[in-house]
Symmetry: C3
Subunit: 421 residues, 3 copies
């Protein structure tokens, strides 16, 4: 569609538009992933759903404006910069890196800290992307290295700096309930469904786009199967763990990203997806607790397992495939440079950003207030009240009940009873 549309535009007076295969439908798919996918994936905490989906919206809405601006500066070479569907996709992509990092510090930071991180991270992200694509001329269509590995390691570096040693035993709010996990599943599924669009959105010709779609489709399917198998094998009594399913099912999409448009058989894509599913579950099971205790890095959503490791797998897979094809060694070096650059830039950028966010003026929540919506949102205690009314309504007078509920709410949500207006 875009092809036809764009060729009509070429030479049109109102806007200079560069030739692009990216279509509006691809953009909308990516848009669903950014706002509904990542948003709901972060609602899994029982008392942090408003913040999960709400701050995701705020970060992404600010990020896409800033991303458009920074991207324009880097690529316009001093000329008036162009807005096209592809630049909207790129702006959405730059917010994804921030949303991944947000996952690592979810529940432990204030919205102001997140807005600062958005501004800083996108700037570093676009610089690294420029390095990878323009200087190294590396290939990374699904941006496994430049978005996923970058976002994960940036987030881990920030989380390391902001480590709260008092919470090393865990926090009572840092758990999910049945319905919060179902809300998170909405996010996980919409990410899963539209990942083929993500990995093919910025392809510069139709063959590549087509291959990226097919390979991502099969890699994702393979990673679902290994994630289930692995989760069941590793958990006690063969049960499945919802966290593994929500995240490791997506690992195939991340890992196949770098080589999705290469001339590989879907068979290779399935191998990559299978490996990513296994590695991701293993990461949740062994690396995340290790990071929290030994490295003093607490990764709330386990972004290392969904984005970090599979992103690295993606980069390595592209090098292996180039080696198998016995192509130009310079190409392999490009890929290695891109992977190294993405991780190194992310770590340095993350450490600096973390240091800035540590300055005690950004309203960082206290340890007790972590993972709690009521610090940032007007939350109603009416569920509690409803149950109290049901159970004690006959026994106690309403005014007495109200006082009772208000007092419980203060304990429960650390805030007085607030009515929604």
């Amino acid at each position: 569609m875009e092809y036809t549309m764009m060729s009509h535009f070429l030479g049109a007076p109102f806007m200079q538009i560069s030739f692009s295969f990216s279509s509006f439908a691809d953009f909308q798919d990516v848009h669903v992933m950014v706002f509904a996918g990542f948003g709901f994936l972060m609602t899994f905490l029982r008392k942090y759903g408003f913040s999960g989906v709400g701050f995701n919206l705020l970060i992404a809405a600010l990020g896409l404006q800033w991303g458009t601006f920074i991207h324009g500066i880097f690529y316009s070479h001093g000329q008036k910069f162009q807005i096209e569907i592809k630049s909207m996709i790129n702006a959405d992509f730059s917010t994804v890196a921030v949303l991944i990092s947000f996952g690592a510090v979810l529940g432990k930071t204030s919205p102001i800290q997140m807005l600062i991180m958005t501004i800083l991270e996108i700037t570093v992200f676009v610089a690294n992307e420029y390095l990878v694509f323009e200087i190294f001329s590396a290939s990374d269509i699904g941006e496994s290295m430049t978005i996923h590995a970058f976002g994960a390691y940036f987030g881990l570096a920030v989380a390391g700096i902001l480590y709260r040693s008092k919470l090393k035993e865990g926090h009572p709010n840092e758990e999910s309930v049945y319905h919060s996990d179902l809300f998170a599943m909405i996010g996980s599924l919409f990410l899963w469904i539209f990942w083929p669009s993500f990995n093919s959105a910025i392809a510069d010709n139709e063959k590549k786009q087509y291959r990226a779609i097919v390979n991502t489709y099969f890699s994702l399917a393979a990673s679902v199967v290994t994630a289930y198998a692995c989760s069941s094998l590793l958990e006690s009594r063969g049960k499945l763990n919802m966290v593994h399913i929500q995240h490791a099912s997506l690992a195939g999409g991340v890992a196949v990203g770098t080589c999705a448009d290469m001339e590989i058989s879907p068979y290779y894509a399935m191998i990559i997806g299978s490996v990513a599913g296994v590695v991701s579950v293993l990461g949740f099971k062994s690396l995340t607790p290790l990071f929290a205790t030994k490295l003093r890095i607490h990764d709330t959503c386990g972004v290392h397992n969904l984005h970090g490791l599979p992103g690295v797998i993606g980069g390595l897979a592209s090098i292996i495939i180039l080696a198998l094809e016995s192509s130009d060694p310079a190409k392999m070096a490009s890929q290695a440079a891109a992977l190294g650059s993405s991780i190194a830039t992310a770590l340095v950028g993350g450490l600096i950003t973390g240091a800035i966010l540590k300055i005690p003026i950004w309203e960082q929540p206290s340890d007790e207030d972590c993972y709690d919506d009521s610090v940032y949102w007007e939350v109603l205690c009416s569920v509690l009240r409803m149950y109290m009314m049901t159970i004690l309504g006959k026994v106690l007078p309403t005014t007495c009940l109200d006082v009772c509920v208000a007092s419980l709410c203060q304990n429960w949500l650390n805030s007085p009873l607030i009515e929604r207006n």
Copy 2:
């Protein structure tokens, strides 16, 4: 896409199809907004989720059939009328006006009243749309005036006529709980994500469609940022209000609708979005309570703040932009006429419709039964029962417990214990 497709169709014997740029993908995006977007946005009330999403489906399904019919009558000029993608989009659009009005009276009307309103409002809506586009030749690509302002003022007029003075102190059911607000967020996000498709769906050439997409994208992003800022500034202790976020984040999409396809810079779109975000939050904070107490108009979803005010801003913005471009004054007059006509027709139509709905034969719910699904739906008391079993299962025999639950249910849901078959 449609372009190619349609040109193939032209001259095809089976159906006469007018030239159209509207594509099937645009239609599906609008369809998601109508059924999932508006549907879930109305599930925020704690005991009215089934009705919110369920009656939304019923209204829209009836409305699109009736809208196709009425639209065909107005535009076919006596000939057999054509069904094309664009007419399906127009049918969906006509239901949006009704769904907006439904928001104003949510929880206070019966399904029969809503079906009557659907028939009446769509008829008036299509008449006004004909006036605006065919007689005034006004420009309103995202239909900010003809759908959003129209729907809001129609709904407010109906709500004014159906005002229940006994509920002026509020109703215990008229509040949200944590999970109902998360369900509403599903609706809000899908509206947000697909709004660029809404504002560009009926563009009659690709340049306009393209501009409408880009401008809506930036306007929406800007309104998210100002909505968060404004909500935090206006609420006590800097907390965010979920109602503001759910609605004011979308105000930018409504406000930019009228001038989305004009040759404006995305910079202007961001200004329009920012203003709309601020005005919408201010409306929730000050106008809605004022309307309820002084004007005796109770607006359940606050449609005036999301659709009414931003719709008017959209109309005014188009006039200002035409003035800045120093274009033909007749064009500005058209826009002003379109805005005036949309509001006036809506108010008159709404007052008449309200008067018809007030006739006491349409099974309007009593004051106590407002905002309560159990009046219209078979609702299970099993949550209550489950908790009772858990807590008292050891102490009381099951039969005793059943009687106890049934009696509590009767108080709680005003209905005897009903099992789902």
Copy 3:
């Protein structure tokens, strides 16, 4: 879009791609239906939401790989088989048949049983599809007969073999709660919204695709209206039943599938949809209880009413329309053969599959463990704990409370207290 895209591909060396109108956007719509639509539709049980959406993902992810393979074997005639968008749509389609059958046995089978059923059913499904389209040359664009009737009768046959006579009085877990029904509504709406894409995805020219879209749009709208009317008429005191709405609203999409691309007026599509809505609600009201008691077939989701009966209506409607058009009797015979073959193959395949699944080595859950996530998933008791803390936190010390919660959990979920890691 695909047209242009494909014509570019033709003659491209890297892959032989057959001419196809199926577009990537159609594929993504179908993909949403398979993973989010069917997935959430099956979350309606109060304690089986993880399994509903989770096993749906597992079945579909395995099924699409197996479906691609089997489809390739049947259609490649010994040559290297081609992967194109249409083959991805076909792979997704083959999983839909399994997901329908999964609905019939939901809550009563183990994941291992479901994986075996996936492998067996898809093999039979592709064989029947080959028979219908290649041998009988029947017309079934929306696959009402080959997917929907097939999947339903296959599932019913399996459910018949696996009948649990001890559960004929019902099971305490086999019911929904308020929020589980709202989650199911997410699935229902996304199925409803994208059904026009489903019925038009494999059309082989644009006229047919266009007709299929328009007819499905109107048929679905009509079935919503009759489903509401019929549900309200049949339930006590005119109330609506959420189960009817979730399923019967979709019956119009199934029933119009076979003749969606025929040269019929939208008026006929609306008649088909209306009839399907009525029949579906009648089925829920009278046939499902009858099946469970007399035929010893327990159909958890009522797939017979959503897929079985409307699928048969679809087949019959196509014969009637061909008769009205007084077309070649051979065509009518083809359609009748396709309908007969789909039902017969499904029943035979289902009976054999059921017999294999009955072998007591597949970890089938015991009668008490039916409809219970905690058998397969690590489920947190934290909701219970939270309420206990709120109510008794002041009175009891935390350690005492933990023991108390753990003991209650064991009773409630038949599992010890498990923390989410």
